[in-house]
């Protein structure tokens, strides 16, 4: 059997799997009855509902003819990696990882790291202009978030401020 819409089939699969997972998770809580609903009642209902809808979407993906087969196409792994990597680096540098003994480096260093890594996801990323952007954003963030809004964020690395 040939898949007629890739997007349809795989999204249906995703909904079914997630729905079953939620429903199965819900059964580990007390389900109760309609008049006395336990914490598992509503999620169990919804999980089953979603799994059924997911199956229906999979079914349409297999049977309803589409013009081009609605291919999912190539995943932009490079962009995913750089954007999420930038996010990860920002978190690690900003807050540190106490459980792994990584010290916090503060906001400014985290901003430079985020901008430099994120910029790699674009097609043009000459270092000078990226550094310029990072500097503008670092100064801007300092003024907006630390100075004006007075958010409690560590600005400089722990080993400097102590």
């Amino acid at each position: 059997m040939k898949i007629k819409s890739q997007k349809g089939f795989f999204s249906g699969l995703m909904f079914t799997v997630v729905g079953v997972a939620f429903a199965w998770g819900a059964t580990t809580y007390n389900v109760g009855t309609g008049a006395r609903m336990g914490p598992g009642y509503f999620p169990l209902m919804l999980g089953i509902l979603m799994a059924i809808i997911g199956l229906a979407i999979m079914f349409t993906g297999l049977t309803v003819q589409t013009d081009d087969g609605e291919p999912i196409g190539k995943w932009a792994w490079k962009q995913v990696l750089y954007i999420l990597g930038a996010n990860l680096a920002f978190g690690v540098l900003l807050g540190g990882l106490p459980s792994f003994g990584v010290p916090a480096m503060g906001l400014i260093i985290a901003i430079y790291a985020l901008v430099i890594i994120a910029a790699q996801a674009g097609s043009k990323h000459a270092l000078p202009s990226v550094l310029g952007l990072a500097t503008v954003l670092a100064v801007g963030s300092y003024v907006a978030f630390i100075w004006a809004l007075k958010l409690q964020i560590q600005v400089w690395p722990t080993f400097i401020t102590g």
Partner: protein, 503 residues
């Protein structure tokens, strides 16, 4: 006149220096993100939610509201000048607006959009002020069964209007509802689906989902597409004012657009996007006057009607939020978030318990619309310049603001990991062709729906019949069913796909 008394309270609040300032800030930000393609009001409001902690609640809501309707103004600028919708609700404005610009009539097109929006905004605000009190009265008659049915209607409404596959949209709503249930169950104290992660017992952060899916997810999706050459009219926009003939054409279109937009905005699931689509479709159906430019070739009505409609819809979509506490679209869902941050429970009691907030917000919308006309017409040159900011500078900045914003909500790096995960999830949704907006709506309504369902069934001793034996509840469910049936009718189904694809 009670209305006048109420509005005078409102203007008293809105006319204070601080609130005028935040209204202006909101309008400028809204125009800014409206002009910039690739960033919408949902992501912006999500980014700014944490920043409003420090503000008084009225100022915060005034600013956030300004962003939403400001974006409707700004979106048209990009649509007309660059042939790209700056905002999803300006998608139809592109068709005739860009053609007008190519014929050297960018000025009148911008003016038609600006003036039409202003008129619609004023009418929308008045409707909001007039209809909110009676609807609030009605809302007090609502029991849990009615609320549950109303939410069902709202969610179905949101699905019907979503573009693309109906089934997928329903599934996204259910997924949103389920995600909304993560965390501690208020009744039993059981931590559900928290995988023993302490941060998850408070539930998944709304800001993290919104920013991940709408911020990161869209950036990745945008970057993965090949860069297209944007044709920007850097040439000076001359002759801003429409001719007499233009006025004669655009006036009825503005009126029709406003009427349509106001009524569609009130409907659950409605709002700016649907209003714009419907208004354009109706204009296309009306007869052309002799000598008028056909649609798709630069007809001024094709700009005036959808732009008026989207602004009117943006205004009136506040009605369900302020009177019933039920958000009709994703932006309003964020407003619920903003209100909860400030310890205001959205719903009919807002008007009585916080009259300054309620009327102040409404009055500020009128002031905001006036500011926007000034911001958008005389200062248009400024926004045109902005269009030349390349995306390669924009997207790292957006990533940064999302990351800082989400961190500052709880000062906890856990939220940063969550936003990353949802960024990937958002991109996966994009790849699988699933529209994310219904998910957000479901996420907000999940806990509310469970609570009302639980209460309704507790009162009826487990009898599901309560939803159809109570008249209001039955009516709401019937309306929801009717909506579904209409959409599934083969004739309408074909039309609906046409409406979202063709133009």
């Amino acid at each position: 006149m009670e209305l006048i008394h109420n509005l005078s309270i409102g203007f008293g609040v809105a006319f204070t220096g601080v609130n005028l300032l935040y209204c202006l800030v909101g309008c400028i930000l809204g125009t800014l993100i409206g002009v910039l393609p690739g960033i919408g009001p949902v992501a912006t409001i999500a980014m700014l939610l944490p920043a409003t902690y420090a503000l008084p609640p009225v100022s915060a809501l005034i600013m956030l509201a300004g962003i939403y309707y400001g974006a409707q103004y700004g979106g048209s600028t990009t649509a007309i000048l660059v042939n790209l919708p700056g905002e999803s609700s300006s998608v139809v404005t592109v068709i005739d607006g860009y053609q007008m610009a190519r014929k050297g009539r960018a000025g009148p097109a911008l003016a038609a959009a600006g003036l039409g929006s202003f008129f619609a905004g004023c009418v929308g605000t008045l409707i909001l002020a007039a209809f909110a009190p009676p609807l609030t009265e009605l809302a007090f008659k609502f029991g849990p069964a009615e609320y549950f049915s109303l939410m069902v209607l709202g969610l179905i409404g949101a699905v019907v209007l979503a573009s693309g596959s109906l089934l997928k949209a329903v599934a996204m709503i259910v997924l949103g509802l389920l995600m909304g249930l993560v965390g501690t169950d208020v009744n039993s104290g059981v931590a559900r689906f928290s995988f023993d992660i302490p941060e998850l017992t408070d539930g998944i952060g709304f800001v993290a989902i919104a920013m991940g899916v709408f911020g990161y997810g869209e950036i990745i999706a945008n970057l993965s597409q090949p860069e297209e050459d944007r044709e920007v009219f850097t040439a000076k926009v001359t002759g801003l004012f429409p001719t007499k003939e233009d006025f004669r054409n655009m006036l009825p279109a503005v009126l029709r657009g406003t009427a349509l937009g106001s009524s569609l905005g009130i409907l659950p699931g409605g709002g700016a996007l649907l209003a714009a689509f419907a208004a354009y479709t109706i204009e296309k159906k009306t007869k052309l006057r002799p000598g008028e430019v056909p649609f798709g070739k630069g007809n001024i009505r094709g700009v005036a009607a959808p732009e008026s409609a989207n602004n009117a819809g943006a205004q009136t979509s506040f009605i369900p939020l302020l009177t019933l506490g039920i958000p009709p679209n994703a932006v309003m869902a964020l407003m619920v978030g903003a209100m909860t941050i400030h310890n205001i429970q959205p719903g009919p009691q807002v008007m009585t318990s916080n009259p300054e907030l309620f009327w102040g917000l409404i009055a500020s919308m009128w002031l905001g619309n006036a500011m926007l006309v000034i911001l958008n017409l005389p200062l248009i040159g400024l926004w045109i310049k902005l269009l030349s900011v390349p995306y390669r500078f924009l997207f790292p900045s957006i990533v940064l603001f999302c990351a800082i914003g989400v961190y500052s909500t709880n000062n906890n790096t856990f939220d940063i990991w969550m936003v990353g995960i949802f960024g990937f999830v958002g991109y996966a949704f994009y790849k699988l062709g699933c529209e994310p907006a219904p998910l957000l709506l479901g996420f907000i309504l999940g806990p509310m729906m469970e609570e009302n369902l639980r209460r309704a069934l507790l009162l009826s001793r487990g009898d599901w019949g309560v939803f159809v034996t109570r008249p209001i509840s039955a009516g709401l469910l019937a309306a929801a069913l009717l909506l579904l049936v209409i959409v599934l009718l083969p004739a309408v189904k074909a039309k609906r796909q046409e409406a979202f694809v063709e133009d």
